[in-house]
Amino acid sequence: MASSQMAAKPKKPFNFYKWIRSREGQQAFIIVAFSIIPLALLLIFTYYPFAEMFKFSFFKMKYVGKREFVGLKNYIDVFTRDDLFSSLKLSIYYIGGAMVQLALALYLATVLCFGVKGGNFFKGCMFFPYLINGIAIGFIFKFFYTRGFVFDTVLQWFGLELENLPYWLKDRSINNISLVGTSVWKYFGQNMVLFLGAMMSVDSELYEAAMLDGANKWQQFKYIMLPSIKTIVTLNLITSITGSLSAFEPPYVVMSGGANGTATYFVKMHEVAHTSQKVGLASAMAIVLLMIIFVATILQKVIMNYVFRSSEDEDVNAAKRREKKLAKARAKEAGK
């Protein structure tokens, strides 16, 4: 999306002194000199592995040794082996978590945007988890959820009995939710900062004008804040879904490699690739995941376009009506 924006930008005035021959030469030279390293890094460490991985996905192979072409067998395995495909279902928990996280971030950003005393302090507290090392977060939450430890103690402060509380990490009906909680905890503050940044970029005069016109807080939110942040909301949606599909650190660290039915697709993939060294199968898993991510991204874009188009259509219609009115008025004037 950004690329089309950039491409639409008017051309720089370099055209205008193009007549200097030497200048063109110098330009070509600097373009090559400055882009060769970044492009080489990009091609070598992103696109080459991508192409290789695609190739691997059709082979039965280990890191070393013979390769055997097996066609689509790896892909069929991905979908038919119970343990692999079912791990993808866990992503639903993470997607649910991502939705909660976005809603929470949006709410808190709104609260902060209306101005409170000590807003910066609160913002800092909620943002800080984002900066903590993923491994450290894993340990912190392993500790947090242990039976009778932090979480249980705090719940007991509020009058709950320990006997009635589940084992947060052992109980299979709840442990995935506990893990999703850690990722919501890490990212909600960061999302909030993003939303707040977009909200603050709105001209404050708009709010003043709205207040003078008697708009209440809800109307301010709906008509001023929300439209100004829709791009970033869409973007966050996409990144959080991509992130949910590739959730890795919470089960890997908190559950020491995804025990108790918490192994997400990524954890499984890691296991297949590095423990059992089935490189071909792991590659096929990665390609399948990429496909899902592409589809999810495109779907989201379409849906978001559809959702936001309705409001824009209104504006267009309103503009048309106004034009018509003006035209009528002009016709009247002319008639006089």
């Binding site: 970044p38 890094l41 992103t46 808190l108 340990f139 791009t231």
Partner: protein, 280 residues
């Protein structure tokens, strides 16, 4: 104001502060409880509730033990080296490509932008199967430089932050310098580069925090002597089992650098995040 309006007004204020205090509490609780435990002796940890404050806030024995056992000194040193090179490299590479993409129109400009953009959609960890083979073949495994070069690789966000910043630097500046006989290299390094400082700070912080916290690639491509802080932390999984007073000490130790950077550069971090996200 009527009574009804007053209730509404103060009710909203109450809700505002209540939610902020509640979620700040939620955000801090896991870390603070960990901090409390990190200062407890073994006996204290085994006999008292986790939320009971430690007898002494000066009991640094856990920290010292973790520092020695996990060889944290070495880990911090390695992380520092990786950090310096990756951050410096990203700033150089990112600003150079951003300069070219922003200042010159040439065939392939759009293609390069799309290539970088598309790369963001590829989840890095998924491709490690193939990347690992590549790294193995070119002998980049178990060397700090291999990991550093890989980490510098494709940092799209920093490129976008730089591009955005270049858009706000008038082209007339380049032009007048060129008229005075400066080459493009001089224009970039002597004139534009110093102007990029705010964008550089942003990129340094974002990339720095990301690199410092990175675990997955580090665990694949580095071993023993070259271990980073994340890797040193991960070694606690096995031997320490449930000795959380030590594990917490390690976790707290690892987040101190991030905390210091955060407290100093709060503003830049916030604005950098927004800039990076909006453009990316």
């Amino acid at each position: 104001m009527t009574i009804f309006q007053k209730i509404k007004h103060y009710g909203w204020i109450f809700i505002q502060y209540f939610s902020l205090i509640f979620f700040s509490f939620v955000a801090l609780l896991p870390v603070v409880s960990c901090l409390i435990t990190a200062f407890k002796t073994k006996e204290e940890y085994e006999t008292t509730n986790v939320m009971t404050l430690p007898q002494s806030w000066l009991n640094f024995r856990n920290f010292i033990q973790v520092w020695e056992d996990a060889d944290m000194g070495r880990a911090f040193f390695n992380s520092a080296i990786v950090l310096v090179f990756v951050v410096a490299g990203s700033v150089m590479v990112g600003s150079m490509i951003a300069y070219v993409l922003n200042r010159f129109t040439f065939p392939g400009n759009g293609l390069i932008r799309s290539l970088f953009l598309f790369a963001t959609l590829l989840p890095g960890i998924a491709m490690q199967v193939a990347t690992y083979q590549l790294m193995y073949q070119i002998g980049f495994i178990n060397h700090l430089y291999g990991y550093i070069i890989l980490s510098m690789g494709t940092d799209v966000i920093s490129i976008y932050i730089f591009i955005q910043f270049f858009e706000n630097i008038p082209v007339s500046l380049d032009e007048s310098a060129f008229m005075d006989g400066a080459s493009y290299f001089t224009i970039f390094f002597k004139i534009l580069f110093p102007l990029l400082k705010p964008a550089m700070v942003t990129v340094m912080i974002l990339k720095g925090v990301g690199t410092y916290n990175e675990y997955y690639n580090a665990s694949l491509y580095l071993t023993g002597e070259q271990k980073t802080v994340s890797m040193a932390l991960y070694t606690f999984v096995g031997p320490l089992g449930s000795q959380f007073n030590l594990i917490c000490a390690g976790a707290i130790m690892s987040l101190i650098p991030a905390l210091v950077v955060f407290l100093i550069f709060q503003k830049q971090i916030y604005s950098g995040m927004t800039a990076g996200a909006v453009k990316g």
